[in-house]
Symmetry: C2
Subunit: 354 residues, 2 copies
Amino acid sequence: MKIALIPGDGIGPEVTYESRRVLNAIGEKFGHSFSFTEVPAGGNAIDSFGHPLPQESLDECKKSDAVLLGAVGGPKWDDLPGELRPEQALLGLRKGLGVFANLRPAVLFSQLKGASALKEEIIGDGIDILVVRELTGGIYFGPKTLKEVPGGYEATDTEVYNTGEIKRIARVAFNAAMKRNKRLCSVDKANILESSRLWRKVVIEVAKEYPEVELSHMYVDNCAMQLIRYPRQFDVIVTSNMFGDILSDEASMLTGSLGMLPSASLGSSTLGLYEPIHGTAPDIAGQNKANPLASILSTAMMLRYSFNLEKEAQLIEDAVRGVLEDGYRTGDIMETGKKLVGTKEMGDLVIAKL
Amino acid sequence: MKIALIPGDGIGPEVTYESRRVLNAIGEKFGHSFSFTEVPAGGNAIDSFGHPLPQESLDECKKSDAVLLGAVGGPKWDDLPGELRPEQALLGLRKGLGVFANLRPAVLFSQLKGASALKEEIIGDGIDILVVRELTGGIYFGPKTLKEVPGGYEATDTEVYNTGEIKRIARVAFNAAMKRNKRLCSVDKANILESSRLWRKVVIEVAKEYPEVELSHMYVDNCAMQLIRYPRQFDVIVTSNMFGDILSDEASMLTGSLGMLPSASLGSSTLGLYEPIHGTAPDIAGQNKANPLASILSTAMMLRYSFNLEKEAQLIEDAVRGVLEDGYRTGDIMETGKKLVGTKEMGDLVIAKL
Ligand SMILES: CC(C)[C@H](C(=O)O)[C@@H](O)C(=O)O
Ligand SMILES: CC(C)[C@H](C(=O)O)[C@@H](O)C(=O)O
């Protein structure tokens, strides 16, 4: 199993290093062999090659069975022109690999309940939402214009969706709902947007293939409220690229477990892109302080979705919960009475649990 | 002072009735004379005239000094085609009156602290954010298309902003910040959207006219998180129509005071549109259960922005706080130990405080 490893910038290299160790441990235990090829992308690639995603990097990823990414970006590259900034590596990878479905679980780890911003009575038994965000369409990739007009400029961006794009993301979401609590909420702004009206129509069409799933629809503004008011009402949420960007971040923050949350971006083959949702945290980079658990949990998603190794995936997830249960914490999730450990030690602890 | 009154649907008529009484009480006390003309719009206008915003209604509003709206819409009209739905009344009023700046205060009333979904340590001294949302541009009003393509349809919506539109909304936001804590956060998605890059450039340009205001920029996904993580960091937020729709609802819900929050929509003249942010609540309509305070507080905004009657506006706001302080609550904000009252009684109590 050939993995393209993109350490990236900031804390990216440290956390992916631990993930690699975890995957090797899984390999030994179960007799799988994972091979890793390090691939430059992000700020470091700008520095070395003058481009956030050199063609060779993309080609190497395409030839792999899965891509594990740390995080890209940092203040050093913030003032570069748009097309040369580190986040272009993400956009290029998404589009280049055709990974149109971004799966972002927003899970409250019961051991970290105290970290949520929400009151206990709202959290109740916990939060466990899966946001399925469309990732290669919409206003991110639609035509853009900038032209001079009297008094200055006029700029446009275009939200574009077609039936095929909506069908395939809807199927990913319905399939995910089938493996969970069989409830899907499709989020749009159908009272305003033509693309949302098409979105809603197609989702309703696809729903016929999944009679067991209970489908609901919600406007995006209402969803931004409902996530706070009563997050437990949600099982799976499916939405467009732009709305998914906003809502998945909101949902993650509700859990208070930002340093803990993985993500998977999938296409029509088994090749997937896996990365933590956190950023590069340049302030703590290289200090053995970063929390590697989001990256480690991303490898669990990789095992599940790209390699169909469900048992191995669960073992990693159980190991992470076990380590939290034993009271070990990195700085970002530290609470009084717990045992503070560094990036490497956290990696060791997870491997020991395996 | 000529006020166009749009009672609207659901609880709209009840709450605006109390607002009218409050305005009359202010008029008597200070020797102002307010005249009211009732104007049909929303679902009731669809029923009576076949259109959510008959031309005569819009004309009447345009001839007035201010418009006070209850709320429009309801399940009865949900299945009508887009252009005939009650929310078209809102869009038509906004565009027709040219009210390009939507001011939405998200305030936590200290008397209702318990109602917030957030933990006490996050709320701290309270939440007091003003969201300034652009209201007559962006993807709400840009060109839309729907066309047949192989395999189905393709739909597009266009986000459009020009320098002039951004300048004028930025000035409203800077002016508001000058009267508050002099901090303005402009929210965009400049790492992706051309329109956001123009937005950011123009806001930075306008900032030169307001050297005392501390300006910051934030991506919309991050803002959706920061509102939850640390809402007290915000004073005034300025953003586009679509982002403002989402973020202002999120910010309102954080306060837990949804039934309490007013809004003002302003243009380049003093003519403004004032309405509570809550909806028509058809389930409790006509039962003397609705909370009229959001509508009453909307009249305070009207006095302030359309009539420049700051003292009178503050008197209303103080009266509302006084009534809460005395322990009176409508059902939506009821807590044990407080005194439950109906819509009319709440109106009486506010008038008595005046
Ligand atoms: C960095 C940025 C371009 C990216 C996005 O908007 O998709 C990020 O916010 C994300 O969610 O992965
Ligand atoms: C009803 C709808 C069209 C409207 C909007 O999106 O502007 C509403 O959500 C609002 O915020 O006033």
